[in-house]
């Protein structure tokens, strides 16, 4: 078999395989269980993950980042202690 014939044969087999695959029905997917709850669901805990998603925890975004804190810090007002002697 020449190289050209071998290529044509390979192409033919590929086309045949794709064609047959297209005729195949959809693979059945098991339906998600929708069982009725048997008792009232417990209230969701007040956890960070429930109340504040990672995207909206602005507290940690700022307080976990040194540069943010440096940038937003108020100027330090130095308070000189007027205490004298050992406390």
């Amino acid at each position: 078999m020449t190289k050209k014939v071998r290529r044509i044969f390979t192409l033919f087999l590929t086309m045949l395989f794709l064609g047959l695959s297209g005729c195949q029905g959809a693979i059945p997917v098991p339906e998600a269980s929708t069982a009725e709850p048997t008792e009232e669901a417990a209230p969701a805990p007040k956890l960070a993950s429930a109340v504040e998603t990672v995207d909206e925890n602005h507290c940690l975004d700022c307080h976990g980042d040194k540069q943010s804190l440096v940038d937003t810090a108020k100027p330090v007002v130095e308070v000189v202690s007027e205490n004298e002697g050992a406390g």
Partner: protein, 384 residues
Amino acid sequence: MAPLEPWEKVLVDAEVFPTTAHGEISCLECHKGVQDPDKEIAHTDLVVQPSEDSGANCSECHPVISNMFPDSLHAGQGGYWTVLDARSTPEDHPEIEEMFGNHCQSCHTSCGDCHVSQPKWTGGGFISGHVFEKEPSMTRNCTACHGSRVGNEYLGKHEDLKADVHFRQERMKCNDCHTSHEMHGQTTGCSYCHEEMPESEHAPTNHRYDDDDLQFPTCEACHWDAADGNDEIEMHQSHEENTLSCEVCHSISYASCDSCHVQISEETGNPFFTTEGDYLTFMIGRNPIQSEQKPYEYVTVRHIPVDRNAYDFYGEDLLSNFDALPTWAYSTPHNTQLLTPQAESCNACHGNADLFLTADKVIAEELTANKSVIVEKVPSTVEE
């Protein structure tokens, strides 16, 4: 202790804190405020120190400690009131209460002052990036407040004076002796938490040397054989049980203070204090609070900074019962040593008037107040 940088005080360890139990709680749950990227809006109605209301913020998970803590000396500062009540009269209480609120109350402590942050008066700031530490830091929490006497003595910060042997050799920390029961103000019976224990009640402690409650910690709790002379130390055997507190033989010089006055600054409006003297002493006196719990006849005493006119800024003669308590107070120096100058030999102490608080060492205005402490006759020398 060097103050932290402003950003350092409030930097949360964003990797570790969210993985801890407290990190699972929403920030707003304890600190209020608003979820907003703008700092000013986010800090609306912010609660900086939620544990100031431990009943609301800590009790859900820590109900036992939260119930007991308000009666603890750290929270209520009962010791201050015990001595203020004794030295004043009820008529003077409004002025005394005003003074207390302006000055003494700054030492009030809540959960977060030991488990999250450095004390406010040192400038505050997180200890470990807002990670809650079960065991407080000895130097950044305990001695940050209890520094000028206890901390300096225990850690050996006075020139030429060794650190306490418990620290020097064993690296013991404050809470090795001062347990969480003491820190949290155990006011109920043991069975409240430990079901297997017999029922008994403990009254709230009124003072750190309270007579009505068991005295903890004690040296004898660990060195029980030394206390009753059942070890091999001759000096332990030759002194009758309860004659001397352990500190009489095993302490070295410790700090005394004189003449504290408090007032509000005309210039800044801030409260401040002045003390006149701060010096090292070693003085043996008679035990002014002898009891079943503290049965010793002789104890170490230190001059405390109380002054007859300490609160004159708030009113005249507010300490009208000044003489009700000594100014040389029962003390437990935190600089224990195995070998001390006074215990070198019998006569290093016996006959050595320098070590005893005799009348000539007390200023005339304080003689009446110290009647119960002054040693009238120095123990005479013995044949060695």
